[in-house]
Amino acid sequence: MPTDTLDSTFAALADPTRRAILARLASGGEASVKELAEPFEMTLPAVSKHLKVLERAGLISRGREAQSRPCRLEASPLREVSDWVEQYRRFWEQSFDRLDDYLHELRRGENEDGEQW
């Protein structure tokens, strides 16, 4: 999966309100903006803003009905984020960066004072 998709997913998930909205949709199917706003002390426009971020990240989709536009969870980006292969890819890439630095460090030490690794 492209990294930019993963990044937009993480950016969308970085906010606790947005995670709470997703959790609500995961447990109860479709919901209107008004229903989603109820547990939060927030205005409808503020909640709508969060929904736009989630929609752009592909984490929710919204119905076409002009007034309520019910929201529903789209699980596939979450699935990709929780996918073990993707997590391990990040893990290994970062470890390899450190290994690269460490090997350079070892070889510098060897050159400077003839020390054996």
Binding site: V81, L103, L106
Partner: protein, 168 residues
């Protein structure tokens, strides 16, 4: 892949392949992987430490280590060596574990229920004009069909993952 009526069913097997060329002789790169005093210096994301590591480098031998996040969260891992060709190749299993070396479910560390219980790591070290090309294959050992109700599991997982990436 619409067996058992579940449109979310994933392919049963997944494999991760990463290659990287390191500017160091093969013997050194191999040592960095297989000797604890070297391994603890690089393993894990940036900011993490490896406070414990044992490596019994022989077929059937055990690798047991602990990774600690900057916040102090510890993750123990255990592997069993399946094959060793010095300094060309190592093959070992990889599982989550506890401090005593018992294998534990990935859900113990907040991973989703469909995370494989055991994975297989194959690392090859190829000489390339004084440099070393490392090819890492990380393959899942399928744990059977997906369970119901994993959506909540994913949400819990991404919470932890988002925190984890924020730290890294």
């Amino acid at each position: 892949m619409a067996n058992n009526g579940d449109s979310n069913t994933e392919p049963p097997e997944q494999e991760l392949v990463i290659t990287r060329v390191f500017d160091a002789p093969r013997e050194l790169v191999f040592k960095a992987w297989t000797e604890p005093e070297h391994f603890v210096r690089w393993w894990g994301p940036k900011g993490y430490t490896t406070p414990f590591c044992t490596i019994d480098l022989r077929p059937g031998g055990i690798m047991h280590h602990c990774m600690r996040s900057p916040e102090g969260r510890e993750v123990w891992t255990k592997g069993v060596f399946r094959a060793i060709v010095v300094p060309e190749r190592i093959v070992l299993t990889d599982s989550f574990a506890d401090a005593e070396g018992n294998v534990v479910s990935p859900t113990h560390y907040g991973m989703s229920p469909d995370w494989p219980l055991e994975t297989l790591l194959t690392v090859t070290f190829d000489e390339q004009a004084g440099k070393t090309k490392v090819t890492l294959r990380h393959a899942g050992i399928p744990s059977g069909t997906e369970r119901d109700g994993t959506q909540q599991g994913w949400l819990e997982t991404v919470d932890r993952l988002a925190e984890y990436l924020a730290e890294a």
